[in-house]
């Protein structure tokens, strides 16, 4: 099973999906799929596939109202990515702390 972070990273690894997600974040409101696909030069089917990937990652919510489906962005899961990017920050902090203790204790 794919972990949550893997799904998020996969979702944002694709430039088109990043653009779709960005458009939804900027809109700050639920957008009908018809309107989203109107903004991109790819098929509605292609858009739907991208939206599904974003939904799986928890980055958007898709709701059906009447005949139209609406998408709403949820940037909260991106915090996990940010957390991951901090890996090397923590790594080097720990490393320098090790170096400091090593020198302090060296005869």
């Amino acid at each position: 099973m794919q972990s949550k972070i893997t799904k998020i990273l996969k979702a944002i690894a694709d430039p088109t999906r990043r653009e779709i997600f960005h458009a939804l974040v900027v809109a700050a409101t639920a957008m009908p799929i018809t309107q989203i696909s109107g903004q991109f030069a790819i098929s509605r089917q292609g858009i739907t596939k991208h939206l599904k990937t974003l939904e799986d990652a928890g980055l958007i919510q898709i709701q059906t109202k009447g005949r139209e489906r609406f998408c709403l962005a949820d940037p909260l899961p991106l915090q996990e990515v940010n957390h991951w990017l901090k890996f090397y920050e923590r790594f080097w902090d720990d490393t320098l702390q090790n170096l400091s203790s090593y020198l302090d204790n060296k005869a």
């Binding site: 990273l9 690894a13 090397y88 923590r90 790594f91 080097w92």
Partner: protein
């Protein structure tokens, strides 16, 4: 995406002592990570944590090694992403200012990011030498 990590630290030790600690294999292996390393331009070094799970070796080539600047490429094995690590020391008269720069971080994207994340989650944090443990053993040995 942020591309460079920088760290600055002042150490209460002479510049030569700090230089030895960051450039000699034996010392690196004590406080950092098991190192096959030579501070010579062109040397292909390997940092390994043998016997520890989920610790991919780090490979790279020394680009610059003259007191007190050390630059080497940094590639976590099987990621095909080359980043660069630079150490710079400045003499503060008995004390030393250490400047560390790790650049190229943004190259970790897509599938590589996923792999890195998985590896790191699998215990990469434990790959750095457990110095506390080491020092404790030293004390017991005396």
């Amino acid at each position: 995406m942020k591309d460079v990590i920088t760290k600055t630290q002042v150490l209460s030790h002479s510049i030569d002592k700090v230089w030895d600690a960051i450039s000699k294999a034996e010392e690196l292996s004590t406080w950092f990570i098991k190192a096959d390393f030579k501070a010579e331009v062109g040397y292909r070094y390997t940092f390994t944590s043998d016997g520890k799970e989920g610790c991919e070796p780090i490979l790279g080539v020394v680009q610059k090694a003259e007191p007190y600047t050390l630059i080497y490429t940094w590639e976590v094995q099987n990621t095909n992403v080359e980043t660069t690590v630079k150490w710079e020391l400045e003499d503060l008269g008995g004390k030393t200012r250490l400047y560390l720069e790790h650049s190229g971080i943004s190259k970790y994207a897509g599938d590589t990011a996923i792999k890195m994340y998985t590896d790191f989650n699998g215990g990469w944090d434990n790959c750095i030498s457990l110095l506390d443990e080491y020092l404790l053993n030293e004390i017991h040995a005396e």
